[in-house]
Symmetry: C2
Subunit: 139 residues, 2 copies
DNA sequence: AAATATTTGCAACAATGTTTCTTTTTTTAT
DNA sequence: ATAAAAAAAGAAACATTGTTGCAAATATTT
């Protein structure tokens, strides 16, 4: 069976053209995608609302995760860790390349531990590095 | 001289009612502010465009900095480090309280060092912690 | 194949952000 | 203090982004 269909079924999502296509975009992209990237790559074949809903359901199911940015543009990327419905466990660092503008999950770079004063409780640590990506550095 | 006026003059910004009021909001707030918070606190006394432009000029001058979020909502907070026109040097951790929803600069918590593979270049590291803030923990 | 459940697209709306231009305010020079 | 120059604010129009309710279409279950 198609691995895309498999992922959708495993997550109790009914298999529709939009979900198949959008999931395949993530599987075939090495960087993170914004809503606009998806609209563009699908040539607006799907309604904007459908794209929003699809992204949201993928996040809910733990198939993709969001990446924080400083400029009001959510980026989404495939979860490669043990994420599932209702719980994300993405403990890796993200890189925003200031040259090509792409955002990447550095799956092998774990988030450093942060020590806060006693009064605070840590639930999750997000690390976003601005810098130059591999591809841009090698040219 | 009023310290607010002083800050504006030091940064070569002409002193206007809007800038004075918005800067004082930041000086009197212990957390970060979103555009909407400012609109609300000024009772929409200033045009929305003016608020956008004021925030942008403050960021440009290094008076305030933006804080990345995962939900498409830019937060702004006073720069307490050595920031200036064209260069921000905010090396502290940010905390988003999942109970009260506020965002705080933890000025005393320096961002941990991150080690990336040789192919990458680091320019800036942003750390956002989700958790419970001091005030919420002590009640 | 029919019944049921789910998803989609559409429309209308709300919120957020940008651009251009005129008026007003602030700053500088006299 | 006044006039000239510079800068900022406000208004309007528009663009982009995100949300909600509902009927039609599609997918899943029986
Ligand atoms: Mn990631
Ligand atoms: Mn800060
Ligand atoms: Zn790059
Ligand atoms: Zn709190």
């Amino acid at each position: 069976m198609d691995s895309i269909v498999q992922i959708l079924k495993q997550n109790n999502l009914s298999v529709t053209e939009g979900r198949r296509k959008i999931l395949s975009l993530f599987l075939n992209s090495n960087g993170a995608l914004a809503h606009a990237d998806i609209e563009k790559n699908t040539h607006s074949h799907f309604d904007r609302v459908t794209v929003y809903r699809t992204l949201q359901s993928f996040v809910d199911k733990g198939i993709i995760h969001t990446i924080p940015t400083s400029d009001n543009s959510i980026k989404y990327a495939l979860c490669k860790d043990e994420c599932g419905e209702g719980h994300h466990h993405d403990h890796h660092v993200h890189l925003v390349c200031t040259r090509c503008g792409n955002t990447f999950c550095l799956d092998n770079v774990v988030t450093p531990t942060v020590k806060l004063p006693r009064d605070y409780t840590i639930q999750q640590v997000e690390v976003v590095v601005k810098g130059i990506c591999k591809a841009c550095n090698n040219q």
